[in-house]
C-alpha cells in the first residue's frame, strides 16, 4: 500500500512546488525509550509535520553503520540500522506519511561505503575474490594528486595504506570511507539494485550524497567527470522507466555552472533537483553587509536549468555552513562575522544553526526565511530551525547541530523517556536555546511564535505555485539595501521586497511595466495604492519585507 501511486495524483512538477524538511532520524523522536530516535517515534510526529505543511521529508542515512560519520558511512545498503527499527517500521512510517500527503526521500551515499562494509572487508582480504575490484586500490599514493582533500581538518591524503591487502585505497572523504570503484560494472549494477530496493518499498526518491566524485581519471581533479554523468543518466533512465513521480536530488557542492550539468541534457535526464550551494553563504553575507549585491550577482550568474529541473535551496542543514563556494576574502569575512569563537569553525565552514548565526534575532530569522521562500527553487528546512533551536559547538564534529528535537519543556525535551545518560546526545539546556525556553508545545500555543509564523509562510507559499514554477526577475533599485524581485507564472505576479538593513529604509521601484495593477500584501491581504507611471515608493521597517500579489484593479 505504500506505493506512492496509490496516494498521489500524477504530477510531474510536484517537487517544484514542494517544501522539503530535513530530518535527523536519530534526533527526532524516540519511540522505544532507548535514547535514540527511530521510525516509530517519527511516525508519531507525522501529525505535527502535516500541520506544519511540509510536503517532503528528507531522512539522513538510516542504514546499518558504525556511525563514525553520522551514518554516511554505510555498512549495509539493504536494511535499517537496528537503533531505528525494522524494515516493517520503515514501511509503516512511509505508508503513514503517504496517507497524510507527504512524500519521503532518503539520503543515499553512492560514492563510498564504511570500511566495515562486508564488501570492503572481502576486498581487502581477498584481492582476487569476487569483491577484489569493488574499491579503488593502488600501490602508489601519489596518483590523482590534483584531487583536493575535502575534510582538511582530519585527512592528510585521499589515499590510506591498508596493511591487510598491502595497498593504498582511495577515499575522497574520511579514511574509514573507501570509495567504490565505478569502473567495475558489478558495482554499478549493485547500486542500481539498492535504488530499486528502496523505491520498491515506496520511497519517493533520494538525496544523492557526494555525487561528483564517483570516478577518478588521470590528469583531472576527479570531480564532475563525464563518466559520472553517464552513470547518473543510467540511474535516471531506470527511475523514469519503472517509478513515476520520484525525485533525485543531487548534492554537488560546486559552482552553479558545474551543478547545472547534474540536471543532464534536454528537459533533464540526470537529477531532477540539485542544491544551489553558493547562494546560501551569500544570503548570510548580504544580511550582515546590508547589501543585496552578493545575492543578486550569484543569481545572475546562475545558468538557466532544464524545464524539468528545480533548485533545492536551504539556509542550514545537518552539515557545517559550507564556505567552499566563496572567495578567500568572502570566507574571511564570513568567519569574522559568524564564527567569532574558533570552535565554531569546521573544515571550510561554520558549524552552527540558523538562530545562533543570526544572534537569535526574530526579524532576521523571518527575513532570511522570506528571502529563501521567494527565490526560484524549492526550500529545504532543517528540523528544529522552525522553532529557532540552538547548537552546542562543544560537541564533536557536526553533532552540535544534530541535538535532540525539542518537543516540550519536560524531561529530555519530550524527545525520549530514556535516562538522560542514555541519550545519543544531550539536548540543549542553556537558558536561551534550551528545551525549556524553546519547544514545539509552547510555540504551538503562542499565536505569535516563530513556529506559527513559519507555518503561515509555508501555507502561503503553497497557495501560490508561482513561487515554485514562476520566472525570476531582479529589480535593481538605487537603494542597495533592498533586495527586490518579481516572480511570474501565468497571470500570477508576485513582487517581493526585502530590507536587508538594520534601519528603516525607503525605496523607489520602477514598476511601470505593471502600471494599473494593485499590489495586495499577501499575509494580511491589505491593498496598497495602485501602480502608476511614477516610481513606486515603499518604506520598510528594519529587516522588514513585503510580498505583494499584483492584481487587476477591481474598480475598473
Amino acid at each position: 500500500m505504500s506505493d506512492p501511486g496509490n496516494w498521489f495524483e500524477r504530477d510531474p512538477d510536484w517537487f517544484k512546488k514542494a517544501v522539503f524538511y530535513e530530518i535527523h532520524l536519530r534526533g527526532f523522536n524516540d519511540g522505544n525509550d532507548d535514547g535514540s530516535g527511530d521510525f516509530r517515534g517519527l511516525a508519531d510526529k507525522l501529525d505535527y509535520l502535516q500541520w506544519l505543511g511540509v510536503d517532503v521529508l528528507w531522512l539522513l542515512p538510516f542504514y546499518p553503520s558504525p556511525l563514525r560519520d553520522g551514518g554516511y558511512d554505510i555498512a549495509d545498503f539493504f536494511t535499517i540500522h537496528p537503533d531505528y527499527g525494522s524494515i516493517e517500521d520503515f514501511k509503516y512510517f512511509v505508508d503513514q506519511a503517504h496517507q497524510r500527503g507527504m512524500r519521503v526521500i532518503a539520503d543515499l551515499v553512492m560514492n563510498h561505503t564504511s570500511s566495515d562494509h562486508p564488501w570492503f572487508q572481502a576486498s581487502r582480504t581477498d584481492p582476487s575474490g569476487p569483491y577484489g575490484d569493488w574499491y579503488v586500490w593502488g600501490d602508489d599514493d601519489t596518483r590523482w594528486s590534483e584531487a583536493r582533500i575535502i575534510f582538511l581538518d582530519t585527512e592528510p591524503s585521499n589515499w590510506t595504506w591498508d596493511p591487510v591487502r598491502g595497498q593504498y585505497f582511495w577515499h575522497r572523504f574520511f579514511s574509514h570511507q573507501p570509495d567504490l570503484n565505478y569502473d567495475n560494472p558489478e558495482v554499478q549494477e549493485q547500486m542500481l539494485n539498492v535504488l530499486r530496493f528502496w523505491l520498491d518499498l515506496g520511497l519517493d526518491g533520494f538525496r544523492l550524497d557526494a555525487v561528483p566524485y564517483l570516478y577518478e581519471r588521470d590528469g583531472t581533479n576527479g570531480e564532475n567527470l563525464p563518466e559520472t554523468h553517464a552513470f547518473l543518466k543510467r540511474v535516471r533512465a531506470e527511475v523514469d522507466a519503472r517509478y513515476q513521480d520520484r525525485v533525485l536530488l543531487a548534492e554537488a557542492n560546486q559552482w552553479p555552472a558545474d551543478v547545472v550539468a547534474y540536471f543532464g541534457d534536454g528537459d533533464g535526464d540526470e537529477c531532477h533537483m540539485a542544491f544551489h550551494f553558493p547562494v546560501m553563504p551569500r544570503m548570510f553575507m548580504a544580511i550582515r553587509r546590508e547589501d543585496a549585491l552578493p545575492m543578486v550577482e550569484i543569481l545572475e550568474s546562475t545558468p538557466p536549468i532544464p524545464s524539468g529541473a528545480q533548485w533545492g535551496l536551504f539556509l542550514r542543514n545537518h552539515d557545517e555552513l559550507t564556505l567552499e563556494m566563496v572567495t578567500d576574502d568572502e570566507r574571511d569575512y564570513m568567519y569574522d562575522e559568524y564564527a567569532k569563537d574558533p570552535r565554531m569553525k569546521l573544515n571550510l565552514g561554520i558549524r552552527r544553526r540558523l538562530a545562533p548565526l543570526l544572534d537569535n534575532g526574530r526579524d532576521e530569522i523571518q527575513l532570511m526565511h522570506a528571502i529563501l521562500f521567494s527565490l526560484p527553487g524549492s526550500p529545504v528546512l532543517y528540523y528544529g530551525d522552525e522553532i529557532g533551536m540552538g547548537d552546542n559547538f562543544f560537541l564533536g564534529d557536526r553533532d552540535g547541530v544534530r541535538t535532540p528535537m525539542q518537543w516540550t519543556g519536560d524531561r529530555n525535551g519530550g524527545f525520549s523517556r530514556a535516562d538522560f545518560q542514555q541519550l545519543y546526545l544531550p539536548p540543549l539546556m542553556d537558558p536561551v536555546y534550551g528545551f525549556q525556553a524553546v519547544n514545539v508545545e509552547a510555540q504551538l500555543r503562542q499565536p505569535n511564535s516563530l513556529l506559527r509564523w513559519i507555518h503561515r509562510l509555508i501555507a502561503l507559499r503553497k497557495d501560490h505555485p508561482v513561487f515554485g514554477l514562476g520566472t525570476y526577475e531582479a529589480l535593481r533599485p538605487d537603494n542597495p539595501r533592498i533586495f527586490a524581485h518579481v516572480r511570474t507564472y501565468e497571470d500570477d505576479i508576485v513582487l517581493c521586497v526585502h530590507n536587508l538593513a538594520r534601519s528603516a529604509q525607503a525605496v523607489e521601484l520602477d514598476l511601470s511595466r505593471w502600471e494599473g495593477l494593485v499590489p495586495e500584501e499577501m499575509f494580511g491581504r491589505t491593498r496598497f495604492p495602485r501602480i502608476g507611471e511614477l516610481p513606486y515608493l515603499l518604506t520598510l521597517a528594519p529587516r522588514g519585507f513585503f510580498w505583494f500579489q499584483l492584481r487587476k484593479d477591481e474598480a475598473e
Binding site: 496509490n6 503517504h98 518537543w407 504551538l444 500555543r445 499565536p447
Partner: protein, 441 residues
C-alpha cells in the same frame, strides 16, 4: 486529437451530476479496464474510465453500460437487478487487468426473493443509488479512490459488533486490479422513516416536545455507536489510540489561525456580522481558555460527517446513515482516527441550524430555548452510553466539545459568507453564544 468515441466518452462523463471536477479541462478519457457482467442481451459492461486533466492529473470513474454508445444502464431495472443477482451468487468476474468481486452478507436474509421494482434516488451528488422494492438500496460509487472504503469498512465492523441502529449491510462489490483496489458499490437494507432534519423542522412549531424527547435516544445511540467503534483493541484499523503530545497544541494552532484568518477580512456590507465584528481577539482568547484542559481522551474511528440529515427516525428508534465521511476529504484522511467528540459537536451545530432554519425558511421563530433543550437531551443520552475511557472527563469534555464547536462555527461562517450570506447569522449566533457562556470548570 481525440477520436469520436473518446469525445463521446468525455462528453458523457463531464455532463454527469456525479462528475466532480467541472471546473477543470478534460484532455483525455479512456476506458482503462472493463468487465462483462452479462454477455446475453441486454449486455452489461462495467467500465473504469480514466479522465485526464490539462494539469496532468487524473480521476477514475465507474460506468455501467451496454457498450460504448450506451454508457449508463443504471436506469434500467433489469440491469441493476443483475448487480444484486451477482452479489447473491458471490460471483467473481474477470476484468482485463483485474477482477470484479461480488459478495453477499450471509446473515442477511432480505435478498432471497426476486426483485421487482427499481427506482433511482434523485438529488445525489457523487454517487448513484437505486432502491429495490422499498427493501434494498444499492449505492454505486462513481468516482473511485484506491483503498479501503470507509463506509463499507464501518458498516461491516458495526454489523459484526452487534450495533443495530444502522441500515443492515447486505452485500457489496469491488474491483482489484493493476489500476487500483477500490470498492464499487454497497447494498444495504432500505429503511423507510423520517429524516432527522425534516422531523426537527416538521415538529418545531406544533409538537416540539415529541422531537426533543427523542433526542435523548439519539444521544444514547450516538454514545453506543462510539463505544462500539472504540471497543476492539485487536483490530488495528479500529483500536482506540492515545493522542500524541502535540495533538492539543496542533488543534489550538489550527483553530486559532482559522479564527485569525476569517476575522482579517470580514465583509463590511453584511449587517448580520455586527455581533462579532471586531471581536476576533476575544474569540481567540476564548479559545485559549477552552484549550486549557486536562486531556483530550482517545481517538477512534467515527462517523465523520454527523448531523441530523444523517439520521432516520424509523419504528420509534434512530438509524444512522451514510458512513462515507466528508466527501471533500481524501480517503486516508476520512479513515483517520479522531476524537468522537467531533461527531458530537457536528450534531450540536446541526441543532443550531435546525432552530434557525425555521426562522429563515418559514419566518417563524423556534420555541423558547429549543436549541438548549436539544443540546441537553442529546448530551445527557450520550453521557449514559459512551465509554468513559474514550472521552476526557468532567469539564475537560465540555471544553473540548466547545473547541470543536467553535472550529465548526468558524468553518460554517466562511462557508455561509461564500455561499448563503442570509444564513451567516447561524454561525454568528453560535460564536456569540460561546463568547457569552461561562467557561466550564
Amino acid at each position: 486529437m481525440t477520436s469520436k468515441s473518446e469525445q463521446h466518452l468525455i462528453d458523457f462523463v463531464t455532463s454527469q451530476r456525479w462528475f466532480g471536477s467541472k471546473t477543470r479541462e478534460v484532455t483525455h478519457s479512456a476506458v482503462v479496464d472493463r468487465a462483462t457482467l452479462r454477455e446475453e442481451d441486454p449486455r452489461l459492461e462495467l467500465m473504469l474510465v480514466e479522465t485526464r486533466f490539462d494539469t496532468g492529473t487524473h480521476e477514475t470513474y465507474q460506468l455501467l453500460g451496454g457498450d460504448e454508445h450506451e454508457l449508463d444502464s443504471l436506469a434500467d431495472p433489469r440491469q441493476v437487478r443483475e448487480l444484486v443477482h451477482l452479489m447473491r451468487t458471490n460471483t467473481k468476474v474477470p476484468a482485463g487487468e483485474g477482477i470484479v468481486e461480488f459478495a453477499a452478507i450471509e446473515s442477511f436474509a432480505g435478498t432471497g426473493h426476486e426483485l421487482r421494482e427499481a427506482r433511482p434516488v434523485g438529488a445525489e451528488q457523487s454517487n448513484t443509488s437505486i432502491v429495490f422494492d422499498e427493501e434494498l438500496i444499492l449505492k454505486v460509487f462513481r468516482r473511485l479512490e484506491a483503498g479501503i472504503n470507509p463506509e463499507l469498512e464501518l458498516l461491516r465492523f458495526l454489523t459484526e459488533h452487534g450495533f443495530e441502529n444502522i441500515a443492515q449491510l447486505a452485500g457489496w462489490y469491488a474491483y482489484a486490479g493493476r489500476q487500483m483496489d477500490a470498492t464499487l458499490g454497497i447494498l444495504q437494507a432500505f429503511v423507510s422513516g423520517e429524516d432527522g432534519w425534516d422531523r426537527a423542522l416538521a415538529t418545531m412549531e406544533s409538537e416540539p416536545e415529541r422531537f426533543l424527547d427523542s433526542l435523548h435516544r439519539l444521544g444514547e445511540v450516538t454514545g453506543r455507536m462510539h463505544a462500539v467503534l472504540g471497543s476492539d483493541s485487536d483490530d488495528p484499523a479500529f483500536a482506540p489510540e492515545e493522542t500524541s503530545a502535540e495533538s492539543l497544541g496542533l488543534l489550538t494552532a489550527t483553530v486559532d489561525e482559522e479564527i485569525e484568518s476569517i476575522f482579517m477580512d470580514l465583509p463590511e456590507d453584511n449587517a448580520e456580522l455586527e455581533p462579532i465584528r471586531g471581536r476576533g481577539e476575544e474569540v481567540r482568547e476564548r479559545l485559549r481558555m477552552l484549550t486549557n484542559l486536562g486531556g483530550t481522551g482517545r481517538v477512534i474511528r467515527h462517523h465523520g460527517d454527523f448531523h441530523l440529515g444523517q439520521t432516520l427516525w424509523a419504528d420509534d428508534d434512530w438509524v444512522v446513515l451514510d458512513f462515507e465521511g466528508e466527501p471533500a476529504r481524501s480517503l486516508p484522511e476520512r479513515r483517520r482516527k479522531r476524537s468522537p467528540l467531533r461527531d458530537v459537536s457536528g450534531m450540536l451545530r446541526s441543532f443550531a441550524y435546525a432552530a434557525s432554519a425555521t426562522a429563515l425558511m418559514r419566518g417563524t421563530s423556534p420555541p423558547v430555548a429549543w436549541e438548549e433543550r436539544a443540546r441537553a437531551e442529546f448530551l445527557d443520552g450520550y453521557r449514559k452510553t459512551i465509554d468513559q475511557h474514550l472521552v476526557p472527563s468532567g469539564a475537560s469534555m465540555d471544553k473540548l466539545l466547545r473547541v470543536f464547536e467553535l472550529e465548526k462555527a468558524v468553518y460554517e461562517l466562511r462557508y455561509e459568507l461564500n455561499n448563503r450570506p442570509d444564513w451567516v447569522k447561524i454561525p454568528v449566533a453560535g460564536i456569540v453564544r460561546m463568547l457569552e457562556e461561562e467557561v466550564p470548570v
